[in-house]
């Protein structure tokens, strides 16, 4: 197994792994490891990865623009009042994040990489929340149930 070290502070492991596998294939890109924000990450490649593919892996990792989603509650009352707060963390400088609520784009205002949106529902529904254009960013998808 080959190791490629890349210095980036934050990674979304699943998002970066998916991007690497999309670029190099699942047989070449095996995964990533991180050791805290002060140490380079490890990109693990198969022994068969060529020097060019190792370089390509480093480029993909350097372009990684992670987005982390969390929500304070997964169930809300469908009364138009009870509120779920979705918090977005995108640590890369100048990162922009647009969420998809269902199929609707919702830009998120970030301050120092952190932003949030509030969701209320007038009716019972299952509300999917994801990131628009998530490639090399995240694999997070949240579901808030309004009941």
């Amino acid at each position: 197994m080959l190791e490629v070290n890349v210095t980036i502070s934050y990674i979304h492991s699943d998002g970066l792994t998916a991007a690497l596998q999309s670029a190099l294939g699942t047989n070449k890109a095996l995964g990533v490891s991180s050791y805290g924000s002060n140490r380079p990450i490890s990109v693990w490649l198969a022994d068969s990865a060529s020097p060019l593919e190792q370089q390509q892996a480093a480029v993909v990792a350097q372009a990684h623009d992670p987005v982390f989603l969390s929500v304070d509650k997964t169930h809300v009352a469908a009364n138009g009042v009870d509120t779920a707060i979705v918090t977005v963390f995108a640590p890369k400088p100048a990162a922009l994040v647009t969420l998809l609520i269902g199929s609707t784009s919702v830009p998120v205002t970030l301050a120092n990489g952190v932003g949030s949106i509030s969701i209320v529902s007038n009716d019972p529904a299952s509300i999917p929340i994801s990131v628009q254009n998530p490639a090399n960013r995240t694999t997070d998808t949240l579901i808030v149930e309004a009941i």
């Binding site: 138009g80 609520i101 269902g102 919702v106 509030s118 969701i119 209320v120 529902s121 007038n122 009716d123």
Partner: protein, 84 residues
Amino acid sequence: MPTTTINVSVSGQLVTISTNEGNALRQSKTAAGTNALDNLTMAQALAWIDANVTDLPSARTALKHLVKLILILRTDLDRTKSGL
């Protein structure tokens, strides 16, 4: 996984969700207006009928109230089931 389509309204950083079934319920309630039978207990509703249904026009009025209740209950049930 529910199959109902959600309608999303965005105002700044506040997102409000509704569904077609919920909108149908709200439209039904608006169209129905006030209903003398709303919020009555069983005994009160039966007493209301005794006191108010005395001829054909008043029976028609009572029947309308009853139909309003049934249709609103039906749309409310559709709304609830759509979120399951």
